[in-house]
Structure formats: structure tokens, C-alpha cells
């Protein structure tokens, strides 16, 4: 069975819009500006101006985006978006204010592509609100190609708009399936944006709270909330800061939020930044000198003109802090609150993928049309379509349960049997393979494909359907063989993904649930928060994390800020801070060794991959992971990702012939049925406290309080200075989705190391039902096969004895 990646691949997969997991052995690193000195130079066609581009006057303004603030609006959800393979599509949403939509706008596109992409037949199409705005050949392998078109007036609407990037790429020379992984086009975040043709306009005029989504993001996809609270260092302000941060993140539906808490107004405001003034009227007056007229004399939440040049400022002010808190609760938090017993229908992914991922709380059948996959035909070797589905935080069906894909599709008789197949990936892991082995082509009519729920997890899951179709012409690969020819595969949007009823019970510790849906904080009436110290750094970090969790949970958390662990009581707790600042005794309660407080900050800076300022590092890390480094959760620390693989190799080559035979059988079982003799071992119960490995910058750790059965989650940075930056890094979509298990240690920019929980406990999340309990038991048995085997044996013996006894008593004696 092919299994190109393991759970780590899954992390990469969710990055969705940010980068693409590419499970092929050979590939280039697209982040390098030029693809290196090639042995021979295939002359890249000179960057001819796009034929559609009208001779717009704004063309000149394009390369000078820096000086005036707000002459452009970034569009990408990340520093770059990479489209890969022979055809790829990305769609997401962005928001505009009334004024922006009415302005004269240019669409600027900047992209670069792989050297091997054949420009003559490769095209990049950009659609805005479904209408084709730009279509250019993919012909810029040596440098970033910029192009700009004026957008038709009326194409953009106030509020939500969608943008889609479609690419069709063909290899210059190669016809293999592997070569399709070498095809990529990277859309650059800094150069892809809406720019205003009239520099005089002051576009970001925010009128009401409903305009919040229009704040958008910067060129790396990050929305920065600058909360200016003069009394931030006082305990009284903390809960208001957290409430504001969460409410704004939720109402703005931003993709990635970084919260900065300051006491002073920032000097310069960049695009994608929202400044919030938070404090009593007195404090605000101190900040601004005079308050705007509308805010004078009463509690106020609304946009006012900033005293500095730039965008409007959200002012939240009242007479006193209690009054402010009530005001925030009423005007900001309440509209985005949701009762804990109400399931959402979708999970918001609009900032990087439309349509939103449907939230599956129960048995559900989803047509591909609902998942955003249209009917399509492919003439290429590899066609991949993506869909997102979201699972609840108490999803517990990794070991038991199968979704079924009812495929409607067809393949032509050109498709060579043997090497052609359909593969379903879940979060980057192969979940099902269907060979296309008929020589005469075939038609699938609601053809069922079983997809084990094994690689699903709480929160957003990405499912790929990949059709690998080789033809005879690919084997000879004559001149022009890579050009689009006859269609090989068709996929119909009537295909249905049917998710069965699955087991729902909370398990803790499980960081993946926190990351996915904020569980269990999402369902707790109150959350206790303990910070290392009450200062701006800690507040910023905590607010960033809370905003992120609130977005996952799709509801604001009610946070009680505590000074220490003593008052936590019967609430789930969040701990944020630097290791050295942590009160004594706090870390062990989250599963981290106490001495970490002293030893960890003392360690020298290890060789750490510094985060790429341009954000391309996200992509690099994905590529690195996919280049065959197969990592599995293990306890030895973050520096030996291939330990398991090496151990397996040694294990397989040692021992006598009998032992080797035994090992071979075990490995075959592992490959084929995902069973192993190691699974027969009962998990050890001895708790061990974690000590971070070399180079670890931040640890997310979770444990269950033995008394209250509540979950404690700690986000601990190595040093005070790096707390804020580390936290903003882990809330980036790729890293955030990588959180799992009991402990996740983040090392460098993207590397995360997961330690799975040795023992977990269950948390009832729904009213008791026998059907659910059966599923829970089945899943538990499936993941503890040793116990299952014993139970089966016992049941057989009991059945035998029972039958024997029953027959002895019933009927006639013979």
C-alpha cells in the first residue's frame, strides 16, 4: 500500500491555501527566485504583456506600492499561494467597503512558475466573482512576473467578493506522472492585490462594525489588531482586551489574526491592520487629546477618524471598566455568540477557501457541487480536486468507521490499466485506492469507495481526489505528447461524499481538538486564563491565542483572568507565558517538567531556521516534509524525525531467520492492514513529564487535572522576548493545524513535534445514547486490538459455556 506521508504530512495538508503538499520524490523548491543554473537554458519567453491588459494608466503605478498608505489592498491569504500539477484551482473570499467597491481599481498579479512549465499551453486565469479578469500564459520561470488589469466598474461589490486562481500547466518534456509534481506556479502575496488608480482616495473608510471584514489582511495574510489600552498593565483591563480581540476576530472573519496590545498609539498603520482604542473615556481623552464628538459623553463603540494619518480607528470607550465590559458584551460579543448546544452548519474558511467547509455533526451526504467541486474533464495525467469538511471537536472515529465516496465519473479507453488509479487522500494521507484496470475505459455510477475515517481530525479536514491516468502516448512521450489531448477522465459533480454516524466523545488530552474547534474550551461556560505575567507581551500573546481559539470554536470564550493556579477551580484552564515567568507548580499540571522553568531559558539558541520574512518558509517546510522525511510521533525529541524508520530498517535486518520472518510478517501486516504486534502491548500508565528537546521555541501541552477532570493547556515559550513572535507563528494556519496529541513542541518556524497522549480520558459531550456509546466502544476496541482480541476470546468462551449450560437446562435430556 502506498503511504507517502504519515501524520506529519497531514499538518502540511491543511495549509490548504498556503501551499500544496506534493508527494513526489523529485521536485524543486519554488521559493528560490530563479530555478538555479540549468544544464541547458530553455529560453524563457520574455515577459510579454498580457494580451487582455488594456493600456491602463495605472500600469505605471504598479511597481511603487510602498509610499502612500492604503493605495492597495492585499488579496492573498498567505505570503504566497502555490498552484501545482497540471490543473489546479483556488478560490477564496475578500471583503470591500462601499467606498472601495466603488473606486477605480486595478488587479495586480505577481507570479512565478517552475522552469519546466511549457508556457505555450499553460495558462493562469484569475476570476473575480466568477468573471474572468485576467488570463496570462504561465511564462515566468526566471523572476516574478507582474501584470495588472483595470477591473470593470461594477464587478466588485461592497462586502464579500470571491477571487479564484485557475491554472493549467503542462510539462515541457516529460510525460510521467512524477513530472506533474514538478509543475507549480506561485502567486506572490506582496504583488497580488487591488490597487487604487486614483491615489487621492482614502479608501478604508469604515462606517460600521459590519465593515470589519473589509479591513483585510497584509501581504502575508495576517490581520493585525492593535489594541491600544493605556491601562493594559492593570488587571482590570485584561478581560476586556480579550473580549475585544475575540469578538473582532470573529466578526471580521479574518484568516489569521495577530493581536498587539500597546499603551500608546502606533506611529504607522500598515494595510491589514485595525487599530482599536480601548479604555475609559478619561484614558481615551489622554490618548487622543479630545474625543470625537460622537464619542463624547457616553459609552461608545464605533469608528472614528484616527488622529494619525491612515485608516479609521475603532474606539471602544465608556465611563468605567465595568461599564465598558457590559458594553463590549452587548455590542461586540453578543452578536457572535452561539449557545453551546447549537452546532454550526459550516466552519468559516472563506478567507482561504470557498465554499466554507460543511460542519459534519452527524450522518451526512455531501454532493461534490456543495463542496465546490464542479463537473470537470481532464486531459492530463493527474487530476486533483479538493474538498473541505469540518469535524466536531468530539470526533472519535479514527479507528472505526468509514466514509463512502459515491463516485460519478468516467475514464476513456486510452487510460492504461495497471498504473492508472484513483486515490483519495485525507489530510495528505492515502485513504483509498481504486485501480482503473479496464482496458476499455469505464463509467462509474455512484461507485462506492470506502474512505476510512482514520486520518480525519477535529476541525477542518482536506480531502483530495486524485485521478492518475496514464495513456500509451505517455510511455513513448513523443514530441508534443505533453500537450493537452483527448480527455482522459471526467468527474461529475453528482458524486457524493457520505459520512456515516460516527462516535462522538471528547478525549483529553488532545491538542488537535483545541486547534480544530477549540474543544473543550468551546463548550465551557468559563475559561480560566493564567498568564506568566500581566504585561503587554503576555497580553498580546494570550489575546492572539484566544482570538485563534475563538475562531476555531466559532464563539467567543468567556475568559476569567487569574493570577495563579489556585483559583482555577472547575474550569478548563489556559496558561500562556514564558517558561521562566511561570509560577512554581503550574507547568507539571499541564504535563511539563517543573525544572523546565529553570533549565530551558538557559539553553543557548540552537540552530533554528529563522522565519522567512516573506513567509515562504511555510512552503519550504512543507516541501521538506514531503521530501521523504517521514515523521511519526515519538518521545525522543525533535531532532530525529526518522528514528522510527531507521529502527524499522535495523529491526528488519537483524536476528535469526525465524525472527526475521516474524518481523517480515509484522511489517507486512503493518503495511497491509495497519496492524502490528506492537499494538498488542497495553499502553503504559506511568506518567512522564516532558522536557523540551534542543531548539524548541514553544511548547503547547495539555493535561487533565486529576481532581476536576478539567483540561489544562499551556502555551509556553522559551523566553519572554520570543513569546509574542512564537505565538503569532503558531497561530498561522499550517502550524496551528499541526497541533495534536498531548504535547506539540514547535521548533523553528514550522517544525512541530507531536507527542501523542499515553493515556487519554473521555469527556461526555452529548446526551447519553446507546448508539453513540456503541460507536465509541467500537472505536476504542479498534484502537486497542490486544484488549479487543482478549474480549473476543472471552466472549467466545462465554458463548460456548453459555450455550453448553443453556442446552443442559433446556429441551430434553438425552
Amino acid at each position: 500500500m502506498k503511504r507517502p506521508g504519515s501524520s506529519w504530512l497531514a499538518l502540511a495538508a491543511l495549509m490548504g491555501a498556503l501551499a500544496i503538499a506534493v508527494p513526489a520524490p523529485a521536485q524543486e523548491k519554488p521559493s528560490s527566485p530563479a530555478p538555479g543554473p540549468a544544464p541547458f537554458m530553455i529560453a524563457p519567453p520574455s515577459p510579454a504583456p498580457a494580451p487582455e491588459t488594456p493600456p491602463a494608466p495605472a500600469q505605471q503605478a504598479v511597481p511603487a506600492p510602498t509610499s502612500p498608505v492604503f493605495v492597495f489592498k492585499a488579496l492573498l491569504p498567505a505570503a504566497s499561494v502555490t498552484l501545482e500539477g497540471e490543473s489546479d484551482t483556488r478560490n477564496w473570499a475578500f471583503n470591500l467597503t462601499q467606498d472601495e467597491a466603488g473606486a477605480d481599481l486595478n488587479l495586480d498579479i505577481a507570479y512565478q512558475n517552475a522552469l519546466v512549465v511549457m508556457p505555450e499551453v499553460s495558462r493562469l486565469t484569475v476570476r473575480i466573482n466568477g468573471e474572468r479578469a485576467v488570463e496570462v500564459p504561465v511564462a515566468s520561470s526566471d523572476r516574478l512576473k507582474r501584470t495588472s488589469v483595470a477591473l470593470r466598474k461594477g464587478l466588485l461589490r461592497p462586502g464579500r467578493n470571491t477571487i479564484g486562481f485557475d491554472v493549467v500547466q503542462r510539462h515541457r518534456t516529460d510525460c510521467t506522472v512524477a513530472s506533474t509534481y514538478e509543475l507549480w506556479t506561485r502567486i506572490d502575496g506582496a504583488g497580488t492585490r487591488l490597487s487604487f488608480r486614483n491615489p487621492g482616495t482614502r479608501p478604508l473608510k469604515l462606517h460600521s462594525i459590519d465593515d470589519l471584514p473589509a479591513v483585510g489582511a497584509d501581504e502575508t495574510g495576517v490581520t493585525t489588531l492593535v489594541i491600544v489600552a493605556p491601562s493594559a498593565s492593570h488587571a482590570v483591563a485584561a478581560s476586556s482586551i480579550f473580549a475585544v480581540a475575540q469578538a473582532l476576530a470573529l466578526r471580521g472573519r479574518y484568516g489569521q489574526v495577530a493581536v498587539q496590545v500597546t499603551e500608546q498609539l502606533p506611529d504607522r498603520v500598515r494595510p491589514g491592520t485595525l487599530t482599536v482604542g480601548l479604555g475609559t473615556r478619561e484614558e481615551m481623552r489622554g490618548l487622543f487629546g479630545t474625543l470625537p464628538a460622537e464619542a463624547g459623553g457616553r459609552s461608545f463603540v464605533g469608528f472614528v477618524e484616527s488622529p494619525r494619518k491612515g485608516a479609521d480607528l475603532l474606539l471602544v470607550t465608556g465611563e468605567s471598566w465595568p461599564e465598558l465590559e457590559a458594553l463590549i458584551g452587548k455590542l461586540l460579543t453578543a452578536p457572535v455568540s452561539r449557545a453551546t448546544n447549537i452546532n454550526r452548519k459550516t466552519m468559516d474558511t472563506a478567507s482561504w477557501h470557498v465554499p466554507d467547509a460543511p460542519f459534519i455533526a452527524d450522518r451526512q451526504a455531501l454532493r461534490f457541487s456543495e463542496l465546490g467541486i464542479p463537473t470537470q474533464e481532464s486531459s492530463g495525467r493527474r487530476m486533483r480536486v479538493r474538498a473541505l469538511v469540518a469535524m466536531p471537536g468530539d470526533f472519535y472515529a479514527n479507528a472505526y468507521g468509514e466514509a463512502t465516496l459515491y463516485l460519478d465519473g468516467a475514464y476513456s479507453e486510452d487510460v492504461l490499466p495497471g498504473d492508472s488509479h484513483i486515490e483519495i487522500f485525507v489530510n495528505g494521507n492515502v485513504a483509498a485506492t481504486v485501480p482503473l484496470n479496464t482496458t476499455t475505459g469505464g463509467l462509474f455510477r455512484q461507485f462506492p469507495i470506502s474512505i476510512p475515517l482514520r486520518h480525519f481530525r477535529p476541525g477542518v479536514n482536506e480531502i483530495w481526489l486524485e485521478a492518475v491516468t496514464l495513456a500509451k502516448t505517455d510511455l513513448s512521450c513523443g514530441p508534443g505528447a505533453t500537450l493537452p489531448g483527448k480527455n482522459r477522465f471526467a468527474l461529475f459533480d453528482t458524486s457524493v461524499l457520505a459520512i456515516p454516524d460516527f462516535a462522538k466523545i471528547g478525549i483529553s488530552p488532545n491538542l488537535a481538538a483545541v486547534a480544530g474547534t477549540g474543544f473543550p474550551y468551546s463548550v465551557a461556560p468559563h475559561v480560566a486564563l493564567v498568564m506568566g505575567r500581566q504585561d503587554i507581551t503576555n497580553l498580546s500573546a494570550a489575546a492572539t491565542l484566544l482570538a485563534r481559539i475563538a475562531q476555531s470554536a466559532s464563539r467567543p470564550l468567556s475568559v476569567d483572568v487569574l493570577a495563579g493556579a489556585a483559583g482555577v477551580g472547575d474550569r478548563p484552564a489556559l496558561i500562556v507565558g514564558a517558561a521562566g515567568q511561570m509560577p512554581a507548580g503550574l507547568l507539571p499540571r499541564a504535563g511539563i517538567a517543573e525544572n523546565v522553568r529553570a533549565t530551558w531559558p538557559q539553553r543557548g539558541d540552537a540552530v533554528v531556521v529563522t522565519p522567512d520574512a516573506e513567509g515562504a518558509a511555510v512552503f519550504d517546510a512543507v516541501i521538506d516534509r514531503l521530501q521523504g522525511r517521514q515523521t511519526t510521533p515519538e518521545n525522543s525529541g525533535g531532532d530525529a524525525p526518522t528514528t522510527e524508520a531507521i529502527r524499522e530498517r535495523w529491526r528488519g535486518s537483524l536476528g535469526g531467520s525465524l525472527a526475521r520472518y516474524f518481523i517480515a510478517v509484522d511489517q507486512w501486516l503493518q503495511r497491509t492492514f495497519d496492524l502490528s504486534f506492537a499494538q498488542l502491548r497495553t499502553p503504559s500508565r506511568a506518567p512522564t513529564l516532558y522536557e523540551p528537546a534542543e531548539g524548541t521555541e514553544l511548547i503547547a501541552a495539555q493535561a487533565v487535572d486529576p481532581e476536576t477532570r478539567q483540561v489544562w493547556t499551556a502555551f509556553v515559550a522559551r523566553r519572554d522576548e520570543t513569546l509574542q513572535s512564537s505565538v503569532s507563528r503558531i497561530v498561522s494556519p499550517g502550524n496551528w493545524a499541526g497541533m495534536a496529541g498531548q504535547i506539540t513542541a514547535f521548533r523553528g518556524a514550522q517544525e512541530a513535534h507531536v507527542i501523542s497522549a499515553a493515556s487519554t480520558s473521555f469527556v461526555m459531550t452529548r446526551p447519553f445514547s446507546l448508539a453513540n456509546m456503541r460507536l465509541v466502544a467500537a472505536n476504542w476496541m479498534s484502537s486497542n486490538i490486544g484488549i479487543y482480541a482478549l474480549a473476543l476470546l472471552t466472549a467466545c468462551i462465554a458463548l460456548g459455556t453459555g450455550t453448553f449450560l443453556m442446552l443442559g437446562r433446556l429441551g430434553r435430556r438425552s
Binding site: 495497471g418 429441551g811 430434553r812 438425552s814
Partner: protein, 532 residues
């Protein structure tokens, strides 16, 4: 002869309601409280009544005491595969396991013969039921439903003949299958009022068993669809097959072997079902379509087999075998041309080969061997005296059958007696009965170190002769039990499977050689002395 034995022989002008009608006619012309039913080819042992009749005294609501049918000749499968002496008979599964099990739930049913019924019970149903062609089971279900009980005595107390040729064997089984289907349709045992839940289950199980041809035929045909047409009936890879199907088969074989390994050896059930399915499937379908159509046909059991030949019903098996062989060829072709499908093809191909082995065995079954001795002989030690041409000598019987006897003559003078001469023999008897001599035709003479072993064939002419034969052959039912016991051993799954494999290969070649008339060449292989 009937007068001589004090027996009334009844016959009817028209055969209305077949056997049930005959039995009802017999009831009408008799007045005993209990009615014993024997088939014409079944002979009871002396102890038959003493072993059975007591149960009627114990339970006034008892309507039936059934005893097993013990056959002294092999069925066609046993004869043609030469397993009669060594392997438990097919019906031992029924009488040794199933009837005993049914009896536990008070639902052992009437099997048409070797049973005693209570007249008062039969009167409530106006005699034997004649609606279905298996009147026996139908009568039993009716009486069970009205609160009567039955008892099964697991001792062979009668000896009988079973169908000797494959054709008559199939005829008999078709009747059973159709009759049980009729009961299923007319009586709906699962929902029949008056039956207890276990009885409902028991009768349903007995009737539904006869639907096996459907499953068998699907099992036979399904792999061919893939091998010839590429149609995937179910999709499974090689490892999946190993994990799910093979483990099931192994567990199944082990369970079967554990539960009734002594009575039924591995794969033999499959073989019996396979050979019947080909003909029973149309029979069952026809009865399902038209339940009232089938009529009772008497099973011929006394046909003699003089020559080697292929049964007239053998043709389909040769066709099946040929098609399955083509399937093997298709497997090979598929593996060569579609290597990417090799593991599926291999799985299906192996399945097909299993069918082929079964079909090969069936070829052996339909290739009829000539019958050696007509009836089974049992060791009986009895003193007596023989007279040939005035020469007298004391004798001891060695073994006895219903038509012949072997005796040891305690005299040197008999060496010169010619084969074919008529002898008069008298024996000591086990009961008080008129003395007399039994005419014997000498068939062989084997002098050995202990004396002379003489074989003879009875030549009965008077009723008394028949009584003497009966006293010799049927006085001791223990003989039969011991014969059965000797065959009842459990070979185990592995040995049983290997044995079946050997059998399959040998019988395949025998069947094919019969088809081409090559049996003369195969004579050395078929060990002439081993024919029963």
C-alpha cells in the same frame, strides 16, 4: 409366503396419494394400537420392538418413535469413491447428529420407515398427510403442532437398502427437496400455530436446508464471471481475501470438525451438496413456482450394476468440469495479460480451482463402478450342521448377509465337494422357533490351515427358510452399531483435507477415463478386490 408367515398383504387398485395413501389403507385394514412402518427394502432386527415400544407407555401423548435407517449397501458416492467401509455414511450425519438434536427439542420427525406411530394420534389427522410428497415429515409437523410428542432412538434397529445408482440417488433427493419445499410453502413452520419456538426453528432449518443449491451454484458460477468476463462480483485484494475469507474458511472447517468431525469428514458435505445441486436447483425452483406439481415417485433401490459406465445423469458434470478447466486457463491468461490484476485473479483462480476439485470428485461419483457383493456381511458366530449329498459335518458361521453366508466346516471331507452343489444347513436359533434346514448353494470353497471356509448363497423356498435367514441376519442389531462405530472417527481438518485432495485428483482421472471408455486401462488402479 405371507400366509406362511402370518402376514396380511394389502394392495390397492389405484395409487391415490402414493405412499401416504397406502399407509392409510393399511391403517383402515388393521386395528392395532401402534403402527410400525417399514419400507419394502427395510428389515428390522429382532430387538426392534423391545427397544422402542416402551416409550409409548411412558408418555400418552407420544405419537412417534423413530429409529435410524441403517443401510447395508453404499450410496453411489460411497460406492464410486470406495469410502463405504472407511467413512461415515451421509445419512449418519442426519441420524447421528441432526435427529438427535431435533429430539432434544421434541421435534424429531417421521422419516417414512423404521418407526412406530400411535393409531390415536394418526386418527386426529385422518391418517398420513398426502399433500406433499414427503408425507412423513408433513405428518410429523401436523402432529407436533397439535401437541403430540416424538422420540428418537439412536440405535440402528433396521437394515435397509439405499439407492444404488446415481440416477436413483438424485431421484430420491429431488423428492426430499421438493417435499420439504412443499412443507415450507404449505405449512410455514416458522409461523405454524401449536409448535414451540424450538420446534419452529427445527422444522424451518430442516426445510430451508434444501435451498442449498442456490448458494452452491452461485459459488460455482461466480468466479467464472470474473475469469471470463472481468465482472467483479465483489472486490477484494489478495491480502483482504486472506484476512477475511481464508480465516473464515479455516474457522468454519475447524468448527465443523469440532462439532461433528466423527460423522462428517471435511469437504464431504460440500461434495454431496455439489453433486446434488446441479439437479436439485431446477427441482427446487420448479416446486417454488408450482408447489402442487411434484408427485411421489418410488425410489428404486435394487438396481444392480453389472458394468462400468458413466451415469446417464453424468453429462452436466463433465460439462461443468470442462468449463471450470477453461476457467483455469482463463486464470493463467489473465495473469499473463493483466499482471496488475494478478492478486485478484489469483484469488478468484484459487476459488475456481477449489470448485474444479469438487467437480473432479463429482466425475468420480457419476462414473458408476460395478457392484461387487450385493449386501454387506456381518460377523455372526452360530453353531450348526451341514449336509451335502449325505455328508454331514458340524459348522460355525463366520459371517452372514441377507443373501449369503460364510461358514467354517469342521470336517476334512468337504474339500472335494464341487462348487455349485446344494447343501442343507441347520443353525441354532436365538428364539424358540420351528426347527428346519436352509438350502444353500455352495459358491466357493477356501481351504486354509484351520479347516475349510465355505461360501454359500441362500436358496429359500418356504416361509420357514425366510425365518431362518431373518434369525441369522437380523437377530443382533449390535453388529450394525459396531460397523457404524468403526467408521466413526475424526480424521482432523488437515488430514481430512489432504485426503480429500487425493480423492479429488484420483477421481478426476477416473471420471475422465470412464468418459473416454478407457476404464480397462485404469483397472489396476481401482483394485478389483476392494469393490464392495
Amino acid at each position: 409366503m405371507c400366509d406362511g408367515l402370518g402376514v396380511t398383504y394389502l394392495t390397492r387398485e389405484r395409487n391415490i396419494s402414493a405412499k401416504a395413501g397406502n399407509l392409510n389403507n393399511g391403517i383402515a385394514h388393521s386395528d392395532g394400537e401402534l403402527i410400525v412402518v417399514f419400507d419394502a427394502d427395510h428389515a428390522p432386527a429382532r430387538s426392534f420392538l423391545t427397544e422402542t415400544i416402551g416409550y409409548f407407555g411412558k408418555d400418552p401423548k407420544l405419537f412417534l418413535v423413530q429409529t435410524p435407517h441403517f443401510f447395508i449397501n453404499p450410496d453411489p458416492l460411497e460406492r464410486n469413491l470406495q469410502t463405504f467401509k472407511t467413512m461415515p455414511s451421509e445419512n449418519e450425519m442426519f441420524y447421528g447428529i441432526i435427529q438427535r438434536g431435533l429430539d432434544k427439542w421434541d421435534s424429531s420427525f417421521f422419516c417414512g420407515s423404521a418407526a412406530i406411530l400411535r393409531r390415536t394420534a394418526l386418527q386426529t389427522t385422518k391418517g398420513f398427510s398426502g399433500r406433499s410428497i414427503t408425507e412423513d415429515a408433513e405428518t410429523a409437523i401436523t402432529l407436533h403442532a397439535s401437541g403430540w410428542h416424538s422420540v428418537y432412538v439412536d440405535k440402528p434397529l433396521i437394515a435397509g437398502l439405499q439407492p444404488a445408482t446415481f440416477t436413483s440417488f438424485i431421484g430420491q433427493r429431488s423428492r426430499w427437496a421438493q417435499g420439504m419445499m412443499q412443507i415450507l410453502l404449505y405449512h410455514r413452520p416458522m409461523f405454524k400455530r401449536g409448535l414451540s419456538l424450538p420446534q419452529r426453528l427445527c422444522y424451518s432449518s430442516s426445510a430451508l436446508f434444501w435451498l442449498f443449491p442456490f448458494a452452491r451454484m452461485i459459488f460455482l458460477v461466480a468466479p467464472l464471471f470474473y475469469l471470463f468476463f472481468g465482472l467483479e462480483i465483489f472486490t477484494a485484494s489478495g491480502p483482504e481475501f486472506i484476512a477475511y475469507v481464508l480465516s473464515y474458511m479455516v474457522v468454519n472447517l475447524m468448527m465443523q470438525n469440532y462439532l461433528y468431525g466423527r460423522f462428517r469428514w471435511p469437504w464431504i458435505s460440500e461434495l454431496y451438496e455439489f453433486i446434488q445441486s446441479v439437479y436439485l436447483l431446477p427441482a427446487v425452483i420448479s416446486v417454488l413456482l408450482n408447489p402442487s406439481k411434484p408427485t411421489f415417485k418410488v425410489t428404486a433401490k435394487n438396481e444392480s450394476l453389472e458394468t462400468r459406465r458413466v451415469s446417464e445423469l453424468g453429462q452436466p458434470f463433465f460439462i461443468i468440469f470442462a468449463v471450470l478447466s477453461l476457467g483455469v486457463a482463463a486464470t493463467y491468461w489473465r495473469i499473463i495479460t493483466e499482471p496488475y490484476n494478478a492478486d485478484t485473479t489469483l484469488v478468484v483462480g484459487l476459488w475456481n480451482i477449489l470448485n474444479l476439485l469438487m467437480a473432479g470428485c463429482a466425475l468420480g461419483v457419476v462414473s458408476e463402478r460395478p457392484e461387487g457383493r450385493a449386501a454387506r456381511r456381518f460377523a455372526v458366530k452360530r453353531r450348526g450342521e451341514i449336509t451335502i449329498d449325505g455328508l454331514r459335518a458340524p459348522i460355525v458361521t463366520e459371517n452372514v448377509s441377507v443373501d449369503g453366508i460364510a461358514i467354517r466346516v469342521m470336517s476334512r471331507d468337504f474339500d472335494k465337494v464341487p462348487v455349485g452343489s446344494l447343501a442343507q444347513a441347520s443353525f441354532e436359533t436365538t428364539i424358540d422357533m420351528p426347527k428346519g434346514t436352509l438350502p444353500l448353494r455352495v459358491t466357493r470353497l477356501n481351504p486354509d490351515e484351520k479347516g475349510l471356509l465355505m461360501g454359500g448363497r441362500y436358496e429359500p423356498s418356504a416361509p420357514l427358510h425366510s425365518r431362518i435367514i431373518a434369525d441369522l441376519a437380523f437377530s443382533d442389531a449390535k453388529n450394525w452399531s459396531e460397523f457404524q462405530k468403526a467408521r466413526r472417527h475424526n480424521p482432523g481438518v488437515i488430514y481430512g483435507t489432504l485426503r480429500f485432495l487425493r480423492l479429488a485428483i484420483f477421481q478426476t482421472s477416473r471420471g475422465i477415463s470412464y468418459l473416454f471408455g478407457l476404464y480397462r486401462l485404469s483397472r489396476p488402479a481401482s483394485r478389483p478386490g476392494a469393490a464392495e
